[in-house]
Amino acid sequence: MADTLPTELHRLLQVDPATRDQAWDAFVSAHTRLLLHTARSISRDHDGAMDAYAHVLEALREDDFRRLRVYQPMAGSKFTTWLVMVARRLCVDQVRRRYGQPRGEGPAAEQLRQVRTRLADLLAADLDPDRLSHPAEANPESELRARQLEHAVTSAVAELSPRDRLLLSLRFDDDRSAREIAAIMRFPTQFHVYRRLTAVLDVLKAALRRRGIEGSAP
């Protein structure tokens, strides 16, 4: 993981234009399996995947390898991680141009409200279930309480560190598994994810208590 360009990329960007085709072949040969793997993740059928793969290669070669020239090596970072990120975005853009924006990306405000409701429900697990708001038994007092709880949760979450907020987002917004979260946030194991999640929820519960959200009494 050096802070220099990979050999095949360096050759491609530096080589004499007369021999650039050979350098491009070498670059593609070195990374074709990864690019194909990325294309297949976006489109499950063979033709769609090959279309996406071809689009990525074309886009990387475009304008004298403009997209590849943007790459800045960084100590500790890998070129292949960057390449997969770029390739995936190219594939996603191609799909969107062809089929439109994917469904499920509703208004951000509504999504945020639903997420806060789920988190609030989890944090309220210590409360008396009989006193929690139920649609069939909704009354002004219980609805007010539910809104107070949601507001308190939102405020408490805002006080957390960015890392802890990201942990909650991955777990409750995106429903990611502990294994996925460990890979994204570089926790050593899934157990570390659960331990941190438990600790963060304890912090939030304490914050709710400080805000007067305690038990079932208003």
């Binding site: 790459y71 970072s77 997969v84 975005r89 990201l166």
Partner: protein, 193 residues
């Protein structure tokens, strides 16, 4: 807006990939995490790339041309030399297992109503299996060695509803040689209100 042309408020591909590689300085990492916490699109990117990298095919190792040519020549000449007999191998012996498939955890996986037994795939030539069941703190709650690929959960092992558990199986494929499954997780009877 195309994913590759997001406004500057979104971290670019270099920064997100450096984040995934753990290469960012502390302050930059905190800034990226603060952004990811509030941006579903960037989170989706990062999660997808992490998944792709963890499942990426291995890069082939290029064999020098001279070595490849020598290998082909040896294959052409060796039958005449009856090499297996010269090496003392019996022609009646089973071919050696050159690649060993790991056992695969079949069930339980994910959210389940109850767990009566743990089931995994068989590994060719495995002489026995070693199973470990762990709680979310990493504590082993049950161990077992068996020659079967099914293990009934004893009544003495009580699983808490809603709590995540993990398990893995190792298969013995030779003297002191084991191949292990990935760690699988499950949750029994999620609490409902």
């Amino acid at each position: 807006m195309p994913a590759e042309e997001r406004p500057a408020i979104h971290p670019d591909a270099t920064e997100l990939s450096a984040y995934l590689d753990g290469a960012l300085a502390e302050a930059d990492r905190a800034r990226v995490e603060a952004h990811l916490a509030g941006c579903a699109e960037c989170r989706s990117d990062v999660a997808a790339v992490a998944q792709l990298l963890s499942t990426a095919p291995r890069r082939r190792v290029a064999v020098p041309v001279g070595l490849a040519a020598a290998a082909v020549l040896a294959l052409l000449l060796v039958p005449a030399l009856d090499l297996p007999s010269r090496l003392g191998r019996s022609p009646l012996r089973e071919p050696a297992v050159t690649t060993t498939a790991a056992p695969i955890a079949i069930e339980p996986r994910g959210a389940v109503d109850s767990v009566r037994a743990l089931v995994w795939s068989a590994v060719p030539h495995a002489s026995r299996y070693r199973l470990a069941l762990l709680d979310s703190a990493g504590t082993v709650v049950w161990r077992l060695e068996t020659v079967d690929t099914v293990a009934a959960l004893p009544e003495t092992v009580r699983l808490r509803a809603g709590a995540p558990y993990f398990w893995k199986v190792d298969a013995e494929t030779g003297f002191d040689r084991w191949v292990g499954s990935e760690l699988s997780d499950f949750t029994v009877g999620v609490l409902r209100r």
